[in-house]
Symmetry: C2
Amino acid sequence: MAFELPIALDAMGGDFAPKEIILGAKKAFDEHSIASLLVGDESKISEFDRGSLSVFHASEVIAMDEDPAKAIRNKKDSSLARCAELVKTGKCSATISAGNTGAAMAAALLKIGRIKGVSRPAIATTIPVLGHHPLVMLDSGANAECQSEWLVQFAQMGSVYSSIRYGIDRPKVALLSIGEESTKGSPLVKETHKKLAELNSETFEFIGNVEGRDLLSAVADVVVTDGFTGNVALKTLEGSVKFFMKMLLNIMNTNEETKKAQDILLNYLLPVADELDPESTGGAMLLGIDGISLISHGSSSSKAISSALRIAHDLSNANIVQRLKEAVS
Amino acid sequence: MAFELPIALDAMGGDFAPKEIILGAKKAFDEHSIASLLVGDESKISEFDRGSLSVFHASEVIAMDEDPAKAIRNKKDSSLARCAELVKTGKCSATISAGNTGAAMAAALLKIGRIKGVSRPAIATTIPVLGHHPLVMLDSGANAECQSEWLVQFAQMGSVYSSIRYGIDRPKVALLSIGEESTKGSPLVKETHKKLAELNSETFEFIGNVEGRDLLSAVADVVVTDGFTGNVALKTLEGSVKFFMKMLLNIMNTNEETKKAQDILLNYLLPVADELDPESTGGAMLLGIDGISLISHGSSSSKAISSALRIAHDLSNANIVQRLKEAVS
């Protein structure tokens, strides 16, 4: 095996850090030989078994509710800032954090920087689709207000991401709107629709507008939207998944009879729940940064961290940053 | 019983018109003594048993995919246009259509007109909340681009609607955003947040921002947003409800054993499905029109039409238009 750079893993970020983060790193190493560099407070990390994984000491931690940009500027020795620097200086192939999302973005922007020509990096989230590869949605919240040129770049970058992660040859790209007709939507959507249609890209197929209900279907491979709409849609979706699972479990726990039904159905429900589980998608990628930066759910378990490490590893091997540069050039 | 004006019901609008519309009108009359005036093609309406309900003949029909404003201008004798005129001229207390949503809006705007002082009417949708009264969301799609002053009026009007429909004394109003902090969101959201906080209204309590996931919870009584975001969120929600129901039915129909589980669970699932069913909410109201105009789902059954008629009847008895006028004055 050729020498591979380790992945800079923010050991202090997330609701269950550092324990679940370290467990996830160990899992990825034991099962897939993927090496992490655990970045964070050495004394705290040392409380857990990390196998042969190395530690990069960082004395500060950025809390979940801290002001992102300020935190990155002031806490120079924070695990998040150090992770980004390790990518910038070529010592690590990628960085992953389950901590403060805004601060992870700020670290990527301020420490690693944008790909030349990219107006605004976007958060690309993967939405599970039953019996089909997931759908890539971007922007999921980096830019609350967007311009049509940025959305065109989101389409270009999202296609590269979908191609690499799911092996799609020429991804179908759609615009999130409030009607399928090109005349429907906000001025931003209409303008972007026109530009994407005119672009006539060879690397992706623009299939026009889709609606909120299409986010759970296999209609498109990539759905492009501004960060405000994308974030609302994503959280609405996450909320309804949780709501349904909870409702169903409540019903199945009503009495002895319903518990019997539960015993029968759980074998069938669990694989589906697993497929819909955001944990299995391993995190969102910041597309447009001149390096690989993944943001995992704050509630990430070791399983989620291990998935994220595998994804970062695959993206690095596929040279995603180089391919993103070509796509926007 | 005092004399009551009938409700102008578009007999030609909706996927199952005129049959389900007429059945719904008959149901509302038989069960609740609510009188409709069936507006549409008399010969087609006469094919069905309408009991003692009257018909107002209109020779034209606006199709689901017609350009809204153009259709209302050109088809002067369309059922939708006639319905709105019957309200305008004081011959009916309200109008309901399950047809072309855009055309129903255009009819309301062009034929009935706005309440004086209202910048833009908004579509108020009710979202079912388990074990709680539904949440009112507006705008669900009338205005793809909004100004903060309009959103403030949406808050005022939505509160009146929530008060009347669900008997809420001082509704909790929230802004849909991408974070709970007042500093999160688009410029529009931040500006509106400031205005709503300063307004310090006596008729509603402004509780700040909520996120997409809160749309299924009892956090707020009224959620205010622009028509683009609102429509995307609503359709995402509707899509996921359908997706889950379908997935669950699929699983329960896998084999003999799972069918047994289905037999047990259906008694518990059906009331919940019923509570979440958009049909039971009966339709969305156009708030800001100088008359009562309800828009029902295109797929409305007789049950949905009957619910809509009851709601229109209640809103009319509660003098909603007068109360909306007071709220925005």
